[in-house]
Amino acid sequence: MPDPLLRVQSLVRSFGGIKATDNLSMEVVPGELHAIIGPNGAGKTTLISQLTGQLMPNSGSIHFAGRDVTGLPSYKRSALGLARSFQITSLLKDFSAIDNVALAAQAHDGHSFRFWGAARKEPHLRAAARAALERVGLGQRADVVVSELSHGEQRELELAVALATKPQLLLLDEPMAGLGVTESQRMVALLKELRKEVTIVLVEHDMEAVFALADRITVLVYGRVIACDVPDAIRKHEEVKRAYLGEQHAVTAHG
C-alpha cells in the first residue's frame, strides 16, 4: 500500500461524559474512495469535523499528506488541500452560485487583502468557478442566488465549492441527504467521475450508493472502528451485521 494521505491515530473526543470519538484510528490512501458508515450517533460527523479542524480532539493525532495537522485551524488545513462538504448545506445564502465557488477559488489564489480591483471581474477566478460549476452540472445556474436553488442543486454546489479549492482530499458528509431518487442517481454518477481525480472520504447513509462507490469501508459504532475492509468483506462481517440489526437491515440486502 502507498503511504497514507490521511492518518488518524488514537483520536479521542468526548462531550461531557460521552465519547463521540473513542480511540479511533484509520488511514486513507491516495486515490481511494473511502466510505465511513455507522448507525445514527456513531460519531461520523464529529469525526469529519475533527478532520477538517472545526472541532479539536481531546487527544490523538491527525496527519495529512505527511504533516501533523492536529492543532491547525480549519482555514490552514484547507490551504493544505483538505476540503469538506457539510451535512446540512452550508453555503453563502445571499450570494450567487458562481460567487460561492469563485470565493473558494480565490481562497487558494494568493491572499485576499486586495482592496481595489473588482473581484468579480478577475477572469481566472471566474473561469475556475465556472469550470467547477460545469463539473457538477450547474453551469446554467451560475448567476442564481443560492437561496433560490433547489435542495439538490445546493448539494451539488457544495461539491463545486469543495472542488474549487483544488483539494487533495475531499471529505463529503452525507452528500445524498435529503435528495430524491433521480437527484441521488445524478450525485452517484458525479461522484464516480470525481473519484478518478481526487481522494474521497464519504460519509453516507445511502447504503446502495456506498457499496456502489467505495473501495474500502470503515464501520463506526459508538465512536469506535469495528471494521475496515473492502465492501464484499464488510457485507459478510458478523459484527457489522449485528450493529446494523434492526437499525439498517439494508447492508446485505442491497449488495
Binding site: F95, Q106, A107, R114, F115, G117, A118
Partner: protein, 315 residues
C-alpha cells in the same frame, strides 16, 4: 455593467446633484443656515457610511463609532492647542490615531460575537469618553475650543463656508467611492462572505477574523476623518460629542437609510438630522417623538428608506 435606471438610483442621482448645487442655492437665496446645516449632515453621512461598511457589509454591529469621531476631533483640537495648525500634520495624525484605536478595540471585541460585540464596542467607546473627560489640560468636561481651523497652506481655506462644504462633500463622495471599491474587491467579498457564513469561509480557507479586523480598522479610520471634519466645522471638540448616544444615532442613520446599501447611510443621515432639526423647531422635547418613531421604524420599516425605494423598482 451600466447602472440600472431604477427608482433608487434615480433618487441617489438627484440627491448627489442637489448636494453639489446646494451652495449655489444658498448663495442665490442668501440662506446661509441651510449650508451650515448640510455641512453637518454631509459630515455625519461620512461617519454613517463608515459604520455601514462594518455593519451592512461586515455584519459587525459596532455601538462605539462615536469614539472615532471624538478621536479624530481631539487629534485636530489637541494639535491646534499645542500650536501645530497645519492640516497636513493634523489630519494624518487623526487618521492614524483612529486606526490604531480601531485596531486595539477591534482585536479585543472580535474575540466575541453578536450581543457581546455590541456591548463591548459600547463599553470601550465609553472608556474613550471618560478619558476625554479627564483631559484636564484640554478642557476636560467642558471641551476644547479650536481657535483656528486646519491650515492647508493656502490650497483651501476651511474658514470659507463654501470651500469647507465642498471639502466635506468631496470627502463624502471619496469615502463612498472607496467603500464601493472595497465592497467589490477580493477583500470585500471575503468580508461579506464571513458575514453570511463564517464557518463556511473558514472551511474554504479564509482566516475570518483577520479580514474582519482589517475591515473594522478601515471603518474606524474613515470615521476618524469625519471626526477631523466635524471638529473644524464646530471649531470645538468635547467629550459630549463622543457620548454613547452619538454612536446610537450613527447606527440609527445607517439602519434608517438602509444597511448594506452604498448610499443608504447618506439618505439616513439626511433623514435623521433633518427630522431632528424639524422636530426641535416644533418642540423642545423632540425626542418624545423621535424615540417612539425609532421603535416604529424598527418594527415596520426594515430595510430602511433604500429598502422602500427598492420596492418601487420591482413594482
Amino acid at each position: 455593467m451600466m447602472p440600472n435606471l431604477n427608482v433608487s438610483n434615480a433618487v441617489v442621482a438627484v440627491l448627489c446633484a442637489a448636494l453639489i448645487m446646494l451652495p449655489v442655492y444658498s448663495a442665490a437665496s442668501g440662506n446661509i443656515f441651510i449650508l451650515t446645516l448640510f455641512t453637518r449632515i454631509v459630515i455625519f453621512a461620512l461617519a454613517a457610511a463608515s459604520l455601514n461598511l462594518i455593519m451592512g457589509y461586515g455584519g459587525m454591529m459596532s455601538f462605539g463609532h462615536a469614539a472615532y469621531l471624538g478621536i479624530g476631533g481631539y487629534a485636530v483640537g489637541i494639535l491646534a492647542a499645542e500650536g501645530i495648525g497645519s492640516g497636513f500634520i493634523q489630519w494624518p495624525v487623526a487618521l492614524i490615531v483612529s486606526a490604531l484605536f480601531a485596531l486595539v478595540i477591534g482585536a479585543l471585541s472580535l474575540r466575541t460575537r453578536g450581543v457581546y460585540f455590541i456591548m463591548i464596542t459600547l463599553a470601550f467607546a465609553q472608556m474613550a469618553y471618560y478619558v476625554a473627560t479627564s483631559l484636564s489640560r484640554y478642557g476636560a468636561d467642558d471641551g476644547l475650543t479650536i481657535y483656528k481651523r486646519s491650515d492647508f497652506a493656502g490650497l483651501i481655506n476651511l474658514s470659507n463656508r463654501t470651500q469647507f462644504y465642498y471639502l466635506c462633500l468631496a470627502c463624502l463622495f471619496g469615502g463612498i467611492y472607496l467603500i464601493w471599491r472595497i465592497v467589490n474587491s477580493r477583500f470585500g467579498l471575503v468580508v461579506q462572505g464571513v458575514r453570511s457564513n463564517e464557518q463556511r469561509m473558514q472551511a474554504i480557507g479564509f482566516h475570518a477574523n483577520r479580514y474582519r479586523l482589517v475591515c473594522f480598522v478601515i471603518s474606524g479610520t474613515i470615521c476618524g476623518l469625519a471626526g477631523a471634519l466635524l471638529a473644524n466645522n464646530t471649531d470645538f471638540v468635547s467629550p459630549a460629542g463622543m457620548y454613547w448616544t452619538r454612536s446610537g444615532e450613527l447606527m440609527v442613520m445607517v439602519v434608517l437609510g438602509g444597511m448594506g446599501s452604498l448610499f443608504g447611510p447618506v439618505i439616513g443621515a439626511i433623514a435623521f438630522l433633518l427630522l431632528e432639526e424639524l422636530l426641535s423647531q416644533f418642540t423642545e422635547y423632540w425626542a418624545l417623538i423621535m424615540g417612539p418613531l425609532l421603535l416604529l421604524i424598527v418594527l415596520f420599516a426594515r430595510g430602511g428608506i433604500m429598502g422602500l425605494l427598492g420596492r418601487f423598482n420591482r413594482a
